[in-house]
Structures are given as C-alpha cells and as structure tokens.
C-alpha cells in the first residue's frame, strides 16, 4: 500500500493483534500478510508482546466430543490428501511434461502459422440441481483463466463464493480465490500445473473469508469441467 508509514503499519498491526479492527479491516490485514514481510514482522512483534495476556482467560476443559471431532475432520482431510501430495507424483509430472511439450509444439505451430489466439479451453459452470448455466470460464492460454458471470447471484451477507479447481490425479481441490457475484474474475494459474481436459471447476458457498480449512466445505453453487476447444 502506498503512503503507509512504518508508524501507520505498526499501529495497524497492534490493533489487529489487540482485536479492535472491524471485520473488514481484519480481512484486509489477513489478505496482505502473506505478501508483506514488514507488516508480518510488525504483527509477529505484537503477538509476542501481548501473548502473556492470554493467561488472564480462565482455562476451560473441552467437552469429550471435541477431540474425536478434530480427529474426524483430520481423517476427512487425509482421505482427500494422501501423504504423497500431487506435487510428488512422478506419473503426474511425466504426463504434464508431455502435455507441456505438446503445448510448446502447438504454440510454436501457432506462432509459425500466425494464427490469432482463441480460447483453448471452455467451461460452463451449471447449478447442480437444475443445470442452469451460471458462469463461463475461458482460457486463451493455460496460464490465466477468466470467470465470467452470466447473471447476478444473490449471496448472503455473511457468505462468499469460493472458486476451486481439481484436475484428474490431483489429491484435492485447490482454491482460486473468492468471487464477487456479478463480476468477472481473472485468475493467474502460475502456481498450478497447466489446464487439462476434463479439469473440474466449482463454486462453493463458504464463510465470508472463504473456507477455513483450504478445502470446500459449503454447498456447491455451480460446477463444470474443462473442454478443449479445437
């Protein structure tokens, strides 16, 4: 952010840790933290300064159900996330490097033949119940996609739509971020493998700051699979 002095940043960090920021301000700080080491350092320093004050809250014995509930949730995570994550799957990367080679050849051919770029993948996201189309995803290359709404969707004030994708062979869905209803969204895919045919995309209804566990937890609002455009 421009125009923010070290003093401003430290005050923001202090009030964030203290707890006096509004919900919107909190979400904004949490959005900035991964990318801003100075803000992170200021927050960490305040966490250390104030930590001892947690002693003022009287400890409370958890109910007997709490640990089993945590275990069940971990169980579900483990099922969808085996210890060898998809990053470590050799066959996947072999396949992807073959696909990468193919893509290079195709792009090379495109460059040589001066063909204008056109969408290489299309996805129509439909509502799971009535199959009404709600969004279209188009990708003119495999590094960025656009999510385009076909209408306006009502989302409750305390909820948000979260955008997910999962290709065959991946261990679980990966979040592509939160979606504002009625607005187009461009998503760079630089941290993901290139798009694949049949890759799954979906939008789920999550809490206002997105799924707390990094996996879809809410009902699916729209779902579709990628189709290669020839």
């Amino acid at each position: 952010m421009t125009g923010e002095s070290a003093q401003d940043r430290d005050e923001l960090a202090g009030e964030y840790v203290l707890g006096t920021l509004s919900f919107e301000q909190r979400i904004e700080v949490q959005r900035r933290l991964p990318d801003e080491p100075e803000l992170r350092a200021a927050v960490d320093a305040w966490e250390r300064r104030l930590l001892e004050l947690t002693d003022l809250a009287e400890p409370q014995q958890p109910s007997a159900q709490l640990w089993p509930r945590i275990e069940r949730s971990l169980e579900r995570l483990t099922v969808s996330k085996p210890l060898t994550s998809w990053w470590n799957l050799l066959p996947l990367w072999r396949g992807l490097s073959a696909a990468g080679l193919a893509a290079t050849l195709i792009l090379g051919t495109l460059l040589l033949t001066q063909t204008a770029p056109k969408p290489s993948y299309l996805v129509v996201l439909v509502a799971p119940q009535d199959k009404a189309p709600g969004w279209v995803i188009q990708a003119s290359d495999s590094r960025e996609i656009q999510l385009i709404p076909l209408g306006v969707v009502e989302v409750p004030a305390d909820k948000a739509l979260e955008f997910w994708t999962k290709a065959d062979g991946w261990s679980g869905p990966v979040s592509l971020g939160l979606v504002k209803p009625g607005q187009a969204l461009s998503v760079p895919l630089d941290k993901l493998p290139p798009l694949q045919p049949n890759q799954l995309f979906e939008l789920t209804l999550e809490g206002a700051s997105g799924s707390p566990i990094g996996k879809p937890t809410g009902p699916i609002q729209a779902i579709g699979r990628a189709v290669k455009v020839l």
């Binding site: 840790v17 707890g19 909190r26 966490e47 947690t54 809250a57 971990l74």
Partner: protein, 175 residues
C-alpha cells in the same frame, strides 16, 4: 494434566505434526486445549462456538505445521495466535451489528493483582487504569472500540486515542 511450558517441547511436536504424526497433535491438544478453549470462550462468549473455534484452530495447526517458521515466534505463541484470530474473525463477523451485552463478565483490572512477572504486566501497570482496561477489554474480552466506549462510559474518539497511545507506550516499554 498439562506439563510446565518450559518442559513441554512445542516445536518438536509441531515438527512431528508436519511429518503427519497424529499423536503429536493430540499431545498439543492435551497440553493447551483447555487454555486455548478458555481464550476462545472469553472472546466469543459461547462454549459451543468456542469449541468450533478450537476445532478449526487444530485443523489449521495441523495443516500449517509444515509452514511454521520458528524465526517468527514460539510454536506455543503461534497456536494461541491462530486460535485468537479465528475467534476474533468469528466475533467481528457475527457482531458487526450486535449491541453490547451487559451479561458478559469483563476483565476486571484487578486481575492484574495476580502474580505476573511477565514484562507486559509491568508495562501495563504504568498505564492509567482506564487505558489499561481498554487494552485488557480488547485483547482478553474481544471488545470493539464501541463496546469499550459503552463499558467505560467514555466517548468513542477518546477510547480510540487511548488505545493508540497505550499501544505506543507498550511498544516503548517492551521494545
């Protein structure tokens, strides 16, 4: 029964979580579950909601164990931060419009009379009593500026200024 914090190796347990050892998470739960629940309960003011927060916190601790950076602070401190921020998100989200509730038992400033050697308490004692209770109401009880203003019967602008200055004073005092 929790071990003394100085004996229990939080960092080793967290590293074991990162390797997928479920028993290590269980150790952390036995060690800090009651204190984390106490912190969450004080903030969200509801036992079921507080258990939801601790549930979410332990999943986050499990998933985040591999990414934990000891250079940023202690593993124990991180567990409390994770839990507090989940509780605060919940609190701020649900109570955007909730009026101040009188029934909630507030952190009385005399809780400081407990024997606390920690530097934070010595620094807090240097603040004027009202400013000190602003900090405690915010951090321990999760009160918003408006709730503190109502509780202390002090204008909102004054409360905001007190908090800002108290934080500056605490930073000076603690380094």
């Amino acid at each position: 029964m929790p071990l003394a914090e100085s004996v229990f190796d939080y960092e080793a347990r967290l590293a074991a979580c990162a390797r997928g050892e479920r028993a290590a998470l269980r150790d952390l739960y036995v060690q800090e579950g009651p204190r984390l629940l106490g912190v969450a309960k004080r903030l969200v003011r509801d036992t079921a909601l507080a258990e939801d927060v601790v549930h979410e916190a332990f999943i986050k601790i499990w998933n985040g164990a591999a990414g934990f950076d000891p250079a940023r602070g202690s593993a124990r401190g991180w567990m409390f931060s994770v839990t507090r921020h989940l509780a605060l998100n919940q609190l701020r989200r649900q109570s955007r419009e909730t009026p101040f509730s009188e029934e909630h038992e507030a952190a009385a400033p005399d809780e400081l009379a407990d024997v606390h050697s920690a530097r934070i308490h010595r620094c807090l004692e240097q603040l004027e009593p009202q400013r000190r209770s602003c900090i405690l109401h915010a951090y321990v009880d999760g009160y918003s500026h408006a709730q503190i203003s109502a509780r202390l019967d002090t204008p909102l602008g004054t409360v905001k200024a007190w908090i800002k200055r108290s934080l500056n004073a605490l930073r000076e005092c603690m380094g």
